[in-house]
């Protein structure tokens, strides 16, 4: 509509738009565009960023020349002695964990968010219910990490001060160290992520649900469709575009996610994810080459979603 047609009544110098854009473009160039290019070039360099990555190759060991950092980033966590060993090590690596995060957290947040949006629509205390689910969005990852570390607390003595283990022991079970048992701990961290982000998905999906005309739903109900059918056959198809947007947004969020893992386990006990691994390589091991290579891999994983984002934007602009 208005945005694509600019009023030409006002005389406008050629320079004026650029003056308005200057501060923003300058800052974005310095802080986003230039560092991206620089990071890519650093990923082909050695530890100090002073020479080619090929110089760190060790004789008699596999080396990919200037791609040596990528070899390290892509293979160091894997056991390639046999196919089964490879898949097993992949599943436990930071890549496998990131995959688990994407699968569980995206389905968890979107599923719960959608379910809650549909249910909350039917009760009088909708606003309160939604505010409570949405509240964790205001809490930092660090705060959420503490909140849940306390829920998961594992008491070595008889008394369990962590809520979850107190429930387990009161039901007669043995207390579980949720954050140190491999595999289980990743799931425990993902639960925190779901707790944080379900409100985001719920709010957006709820807005989409509310924009479905009542007549459509009423017509189906009058025709005798059950609620379940109305949900799957009418609501979900209508809001599908929004669901896709929410899913892509969540995948991007999960790929970048770092704080929960950093605060709760520090990536130990087999909970590492790509974004935390990058931090460890750069600022704990001070291996700039390795760290930037991991960062570039992260971007490569995100590029399809950048593409989708731009395509969606183009389609929206065309509709204006």
């Amino acid at each position: 509509m208005a945005a694509s047609t600019v009023p030409n009544i006002m005389k406008q110098g050629k320079l004026a738009p650029w003056l308005y854009l200057l501060p923003a473009l300058l800052i974005m160039t310095i802080f986003i565009v230039f560092p991206m290019i620089n990071t890519i070039s650093l990923s082909f360099s050695n530890k100090d960023g002073t020479a080619s990555a090929a110089t760190t190759c060790v004789e008699g060991k596999p080396c990919w020349g200037v791609f040596e950092n990528y070899r390290y980033a892509l293979t160091s966590e894997f056991d390639t002695t046999s196919a089964s060993a490879f898949w097993y090590s992949f599943w436990k690596s930071s890549y496998g964990n990131t995959l688990k995060w994407i699968m569980l957290m995206v389905s968890g947040t979107v599923g719960l968010g959608l379910g809650f949006a549909v249910l909350a629509d039917r009760v009088k205390y909708e606003a309160l219910a939604k505010a409570i689910i949405f509240m964790p969005m205001a809490v930092s990852f660090v705060g959420a990490g503490i909140i849940w570390k306390f829920v998961y607390d594992y008491g070595t003595q008889q008394v369990q001060i962590g809520l979850l283990n107190a429930i387990v022991t009161s039901l007669g079970g043995a207390p579980i160290a949720y954050l140190t048992v491999p595999q289980l701990n990743t799931v425990a961290l993902i639960v925190v992520g779901v707790w944080l982000w379900t409100g985001f998905c719920m709010t957006i999906l709820s807005a989409a649900l509310k924009s479905i005309p009542d007549e459509v739903l009423e017509a189906a109900r009058v025709d005798g469709a059950r609620e379940w059918t109305v949900f799957w056959k009418i609501m979900v198809p209508i809001i599908m575009p929004t669901i896709i947007v929410v899913v892509t947004t969540m995948v991007i969020n999960v790929l970048k996610l770092f704080d929960i893992v950093y605060v709760m386990t520090g990536g130990n006990f087999g909970t590492d994810v790509i974004a935390n691994r990058m931090y460890t390589e750069m600022y704990v091991n001070f291996n700039i080459g390795h760290g930037t290579a991991v960062a570039v891999i992260l971007v490569l994983a995100i590029i399809p979603f950048i593409y989708m984002n731009i395509k969606r934007f183009m389609a929206q602009e065309a509709m204006r």
Binding site: V123, M137, I204, V263, R312
Partner: protein, 394 residues
């Protein structure tokens, strides 16, 4: 009609149950944090937060076993004649216990012939006696954790107790200047504010300029530039850390607030411009046309028309950017670190290296959540609006 109503209500019960269950799961962890942060250290470590209102440890054993010979204050009843058969008949268990405790309580000797109750029960009773006789008074709720957290106290007792006894650690002065202790949350709170305010204001200002240009000015490459901007929204922060660290090292900006302001400004920009442009673009065209016809320049239109009209967008953007910067850990960790610690950094440090007790950790976490919670509950409407504008409508 009436049966219909009842049926309708019954049909809704599963819905209510599901919603309430989920609300409970969402609120209970935070609620537990709040309760824990208000409990004294010892209580936190020896019982779950959900028992906070339960009778104090040992009270049940005490009433079962000794209440009849000891008054409510725990002192033995002086008048209790332990040889009186009537009294023994009325309070047999208490006499059994008194008899078994092989010690004197308030100078009243106890008999020693009967079997001792299990050690746990006796210990619980002893705890309770200490409590009610005033030897070991423990309030149910205390603000000590918050004080310890604010001043960065890391001792074995509490800040108030240590200061009263004069046994405080050397870095503690026991006056208001303790609030500026670099290890405390008080100082970190101020640092967080110093970081957040300019890092919220600057990107919105620049984004308003750029958003105006994208929405109402004509220039070459307008569409392409905006499409690139949409793509930049998704670039992960991690991608830029090393080059910016190096740049900052050369310019001496590492560990300075200026460096963090600029970084957050740069990274908040694509989303802010996107939102601003979409909002400004949806304003009625006539508005600008009539302003131009009246002889307004772009600059006047921007200042007197755009800024006031864009207030809702600025509000939601402001909340977003505020929460994002306030809650950020990665940028603060890399560019500020320990030189000017912000709240998130301080807490993550307590978890990983210093190993504070739960009472201080929970109090610190709650302090860091206080301002975002106020902002969130006060301005929720704008928050949701901004989110919807950014994520779906476009």
């Amino acid at each position: 009609m009436n049966r219909d109503k009842i049926n309708k209500l019954l049909n809704k019960i599963p819905t209510h149950l599901l919603i309430i269950l989920m609300m409970a799961i969402w609120i209970v962890p935070t609620f537990g944090l709040l309760i824990t942060s208000l409990r004294p250290t010892q209580a936190v470590n020896e019982s779950g937060w959900w028992t906070v209102l339960a009778p104090p440890k040992g009270q049940r054993e005490f009433t079962q076993n000794c209440a009849s010979c000891h008054g409510d204050d725990g002192a033995a009843l002086a008048g209790a004649n332990l040889t009186d058969p009537e009294l023994i008949r009325r309070f047999p268990r208490s006499l059994q216990l008194l008899a078994s405790l092989n010690e004197e309580i308030n100078g009243q000797p106890h008999m020693q012939a009967t079997p001792v109750p299990d050690a746990q029960t006796a210990a619980n009773i002893a705890d309770y006696l200490k409590r009610i006789s005033g030897i070991n008074v423990q309030p149910r709720f205390t603000l000590n954790n918050y004080i310890d957290s604010l001043v960065g106290y890391r001792g074995t007792s509490t800040y108030r107790a240590d200061c009263a006894a004069g046994t405080q650690p050397p870095e503690i002065k026991c006056n208001a200047s303790d609030l500026l202790n670099p290890r405390g949350m008080g100082k970190a709170f101020i640092n967080s504010l110093i970081v957040t305010i300019p890092a919220t204001f600057l990107p919105i200002l620049f984004a308003a300029f750029a958003g105006y240009a994208f929405a109402w000015l004509d220039f070459k490459g307008r569409f392409l530039l905006f499409a690139i901007l949409v793509g930049l929204q998704v670039v992960p922060l991690q991608m830029t850390l090393v080059p910016i660290s190096r740049l900052y090292a050369q310019l001496g900006l590492n560990g300075t607030f200026l460096g963090v302001w600029l970084f957050h400004t740069g990274f908040g920009m694509p989303y802010a411009i996107y939102l601003m442009r979409n909002f400004l673009g949806s304003l009625p065209r006539d508005l600008f046309e009539s302003a131009y016809l009246d002889g307004a320049s772009h600059w006047t239109a921007f200042r007197q028309l755009v800024i006031p009209l864009a207030m809702p967008a600025i509000a939601s953007l402001g909340i977003f950017q505020f929460l994002w910067v306030w809650n950020d850990l990665l940028v603060a960790l890399v560019f500020l670190g320990g030189t000017n610690p912000v709240m998130t950094y301080q807490i993550s440090n307590m978890v990983t290296s210093l190993g504070s007790g739960w009472q201080v950790l929970t109090a610190s976490a709650f302090l860091s959540m206080l301002l975002p919670m106020i902002v969130f509950f006060g301005l929720q409407r704008y928050f949701v609006r901004g989110m919807l504008a950014g994520a779906v409508k476009g």
